[in-house]
């Protein structure tokens, strides 16, 4: 957790931007691989960042049920918290091999 977050939870930071990184089909849906999403408080839950993204890009909503989320090298649940400086990574269905 970045130093400026102090002890974090519940701390209000108005107008903070969170970076969302998209892969696969979501790059097409969102029109770019990276998006800045405005949130009113940090840390923010993954669910709240996804909701803000869906407000900006309504078409993304159809994909969210099949999309995993990651922070760093960890897949996280929707109630995980995103701290200042962290990027939310969206991983739609995979097709490697």
């Amino acid at each position: 957790m970045p130093a400026e977050m102090g002890n974090g939870v519940g701390q209000q930071t108005v107008g903070h931007q969170v970076e969302v990184q998209c892969f696969g089909i979501l790059v097409q849906v969102c029109g770019a691989s990276r998006h800045a999403v405005e949130v009113t408080a940090l840390p923010a839950t993954v669910a709240s960042v996804l909701e803000r993204l869906a407000e900006d890009v309504p078409a993304v909503r159809d994909h969210l049920a099949h999309t995993a989320c990651a922070i760093g090298d960890q897949i996280v649940k929707r109630d995980a918290l995103l701290n200042a400086g962290e990027t939310l990574v969206l991983l739609p269905p995979v097709s490697g091999g």
């Binding site: 696969g24 995993a68 991983l91 269905p93």
Partner: protein, 163 residues
Amino acid sequence: MHEQASNPTGPVASAPVQDAGQPVRLTRQALELDPLLGATESPECGALVVFAGTVRLHNDGRRVTAINYSAYAPLAEKAIAEIEQATLERFDITRCEIRHRIGDLAIGDMSVVVVVRAPHRAAAFEAGRYAIDTVKHQVPIWKYETYADGSHAYVKGCALHAG
């Protein structure tokens, strides 16, 4: 992907794996079998199974001219390492090494290689199948196909376990 499996029994040349540091499971370079075969040689093993996925000319009735593979590298590298370890724990095998290429690939290029060595062939075949199936389901990599008519599309895939 076409599937290729072989079980060569002859000696293989010894060669270093990629570089002296950590193995690189995700690479933009062309995949090469010889270094992997050399690095995994073992006198305890009577079976070597190699699976290679190669870029196919057709997919879903459309003529493919090229594929771009993209990956979320921090997680993909880790996921492949975990699949190697899970395969080692699940089957009576000695080695499991997986490499996946990303970037722009042409028809016929190898996109993924799985090398399994085991004392006996049954476990080696089963482990190789398990490893490639798991790669297809659990590694954050995406195919973006280009078709003969100039159009493009991401290939439909398997959902990762979302939290």
